[in-house]
């Protein structure tokens, strides 16, 4: 029986604190990595995998060390974990910049996201999480009742740790993130661990030297973002707006690389980019039963399409859905997004289409901007059935797909699935871009001449007349094996897509 050392409540408090810190660091680590690697399923998997492996190794080692077989004391472990957690934002920034090539394009990013995020997670999270894991067996060992009632002690310590994890999980997302941001949240967790080290015992000198890690890490150069107007960490992602020398403004999200979500070209409604192509289906939107023509944008972002439609066709009632309210704010602040456009904020695109009752003449889906983030629930047959259900007869749905070729596995699968639901689906590459636009009609599409007439009426034929060229659009055959809810392996498709690009096929 151990009669020395901290009391039971103190030990339980340290177990609670460690459990909370584990979850804060885990959840916030993904956010810290987002500006370099995004926060796709791949990144989450790597972070969770490294956290679990490190905890397991730490717990096992801690068990041995607690039995007096060498190793580190709990005070040193907590101090080391705390110092490394305080330095984590800077370590991730330094490594992210080293791993990612400066001129990397989004379509080439797959291996860097996969392996780079694993590497950064291993370096940044491996040691602190292993140290945190090693603390729990120590706490059990230090408890005065450990030898007479080991089961009860272990249960109490594990319970306190799990309760701490619970508080850490909700506290990180709902309190720390909105109040202080991800970097400060991790630093606070690190500081709490250092306080825990003081509570449980004096750390050794070797561990105390780790104070230098945060100091050195702060010397790491940050990522240079030329022309930055505003950057913000939202509830969902890291977003920023920058401006070119010619005044063109772009809204970018997370790692972005050479991609962007919304754009404004000074003095022009048109952008010269893929957004312009979506004017055609919206202009062709037939009226509903009340005689009003409506268009709905899924994935409104900073509002490029909505702004264009509002300017080009004032009779068209434009609305949309955007899950991230901060993107709308940035759109209104920097990208000329009109304030009167009705937007369902904070809703997922699929949920917005399921709960509403209005019918639309056109539904524009711009949710596949980055293939790594292809939301699987927005590319299945069931989703497209919802889209069809919300279209008026003769209405059109338009998809923005990213890919270099028609044979691209993601493009092929999503467009093919789209074609299993809509009556007439065609697709074309937007010239000079890596975007493809797929149009799906509920009923028969209007003829080419009628489409051209609409463009001429709105003064857009010179700019986007290519969208009515018959030889550019080609029919999309329905997929033999469409993507369905529960079986939409978008990550595997994105991997195949990247392989095809890399191999030059």
């Amino acid at each position: 029986m151990t009669h020395e050392g901290p009391s039971g409540p103190r030990l339980l408090a340290v177990a609670f604190l460690t459990g909370a810190a584990v979850m804060v660091v885990e959840l916030m680590a993904v956010r810290l990595m987002a500006p370099w690697f995004g926060q796709s399923q791949l990144v989450w998997t790597n972070v969770i995998g490294v956290v679990l492996a490190s905890l397991a190794a730490g717990q096992w080692l801690g068990g041995r060390w607690a039995e007096g077989r060498g190793g580190f004391a709990p005070g040193s472990l907590l101090f080391a974990a705390g110092a490394l957690a305080v330095a984590l934002p800077d370590i991730v920034g330094l490594l992210g910049g080293l791993v990612l090539p400066g001129d990397l394009r989004l379509i080439e990013a797959y291996p860097f996201v996969t392996w780079g995020s694993l590497l950064v997670a291993l370096v940044g999270l491996g040691l602190p999480l292993a140290a945190m894991g090693a603390v729990t067996p120590w706490i059990v060992r230090l408890s005065r009742e450990a030898t007479v009632a080991p089961g009860r002690v272990a249960g109490r310590v594990l319970g306190a740790g799990t309760l701490g994890s619970l508080v850490g999980t909700f506290g990180a997302t709902h309190v720390l993130l909105p109040m202080v941001g991800s970097a400060m949240a991790v630093r606070l967790a690190g500081t709490a661990l250092i306080l825990g080290a003081v509570v449980i015992g004096r750390p050794r000198k070797a561990a105390a030297l780790l104070w230098f890690v945060p100091l050195l890490a702060t010397l790491a150069p940050g990522r240079d973002r030329p022309g930055l107007l505003e950057s913000v960490e939202t509830d969902y992602q890291f977003a920023y707006v920058d401006e070119d020398d010619d005044g063109t403004r772009r809204l970018r999200i997370n790692e972005a690389l050479d991609s962007f979500h919304s754009v404004t070209v000074p003095g022009s409604v048109l952008t010269g980019m893929y957004y312009d192509a979506f004017l055609l289906p919206a202009l062709l939107a037939p009226p509903g039963a009340d005689g009003v023509r409506r268009a709905f944008v899924v994935g409104l972002g900073g509002g490029t399409m909505a702004r264009q439609l509002d300017a080009v066709d004032p009779d068209l009632v434009v609305s949309g859905v955007e899950i991230d309210a901060e993107l709308l704010r940035l759109g209104r602040a920097w990208l000329d997004m009109p304030a009167d456009i009705e937007v369902a904020v904070g809703q997922d695109g699929r949920m917005a289409l399921r709960v509403g009752a209005e019918s639309f003449g056109a539904i524009l889906i711009d949710a596949y901007a980055q293939q790594i983030y292809l939301p699987q629930h927005l590319c299945t047959r069931e989703f497209f059935e919802q889209v069809r259900h919300r279209l008026v007869d003769g209405g059109v749905a338009a998809l923005n797909l990213g890919g270099l070729t028609w044979e691209d596995p993601v493009v092929h699968a999503v467009a093919g699935t789209f074609a299993t639901v809509l009556d007439h689906v065609t697709m074309a590459r937007v010239p000079g871009t890596r975007n493809l636009i797929a149009l799906g009609w509920k009923g028969r599409p209007p003829g080419t001449e009628a489409m051209a007439r609409v463009l001429v009426e709105h003064g857009l034929f010179d700019a986007i007349g290519w969208t009515v060229e018959e030889d550019l659009f080609a029919a999309v055959p329905p997929a033999e094996h469409p993507l369905v809810d529960g079986d939409a392996p978008v990550e595997a498709l994105a991997h195949a897509s990247w392989r095809a690009l890399w191999d030059g096929r």
């Binding site: 291996p111 028609w406 030059g504």
Partner: protein
């Protein structure tokens, strides 16, 4: 039956199949490349004249890769740039990059109604860096496992020493 006996009928089959294959852009590029290898640059250029039509009529959206030296690629660049006006900007940028680096062995991707881009050396460098990142991640993972194993071995050693 020897392999030699199979060769004549095989040659006939190939002779029949080859013209069918020689419909698309690949065959034009292959022909032009062969002429280039023979040093017949003007003939190679004439062969490439048919590239535009072939690309617009066949295999919409596919990417064709041509590998060779800079002289040949620049020939293709010029043609592609004039054929695909809408992509000229991105194309010209790619060519400038190439001229600056002076790298040999680049490849050209010519896409129907799309862009042509210099890839080759850049792509190889990226692939090398991706492999480096992959190797570093795997090495670190294995190093972590080895460290845990070493610490376990050391603690067992200490126990044995105490026992002895």
């Amino acid at each position: 039956m020897g392999v030699r006996r199979l060769l004549p009928p095989l040659a006939v089959i190939l002779a029949l199949v080859a013209p069918l294959r020689a419909q698309g852009a690949e065959s034009i590029l292959v022909e032009a490349q062969a002429l280039r290898r023979q040093g017949r640059m003007e003939a190679a250029s004439r062969a490439l004249d048919g590239l535009g039509e072939a690309l617009t009529e066949h295999q919409r959206g596919r990417v064709f890769l041509v590998r060779g030296n800079i002289a040949f690629e620049q020939l293709a660049y010029g043609l592609a740039a004039s054929l695909y006006e809408q992509s000229e900007a991105s194309f010209a940028r790619a060519r400038l990059t190439d001229e600056e680096s002076g790298a040999a062995g680049v490849s050209v991707a010519i896409e129907n109604r799309g862009r042509a881009r210099v890839e080759g050396d850049r792509r190889r460098a990226l692939a090398g860096r991706a492999r480096l990142v992959q190797a570093a991640a795997l090495s670190l993972f294995l190093l972590g496992l080895a460290s845990v194993g070493f610490m376990a071995w050391r603690s067992v050693e200490q126990v044995n020493r105490r026992g002895a």
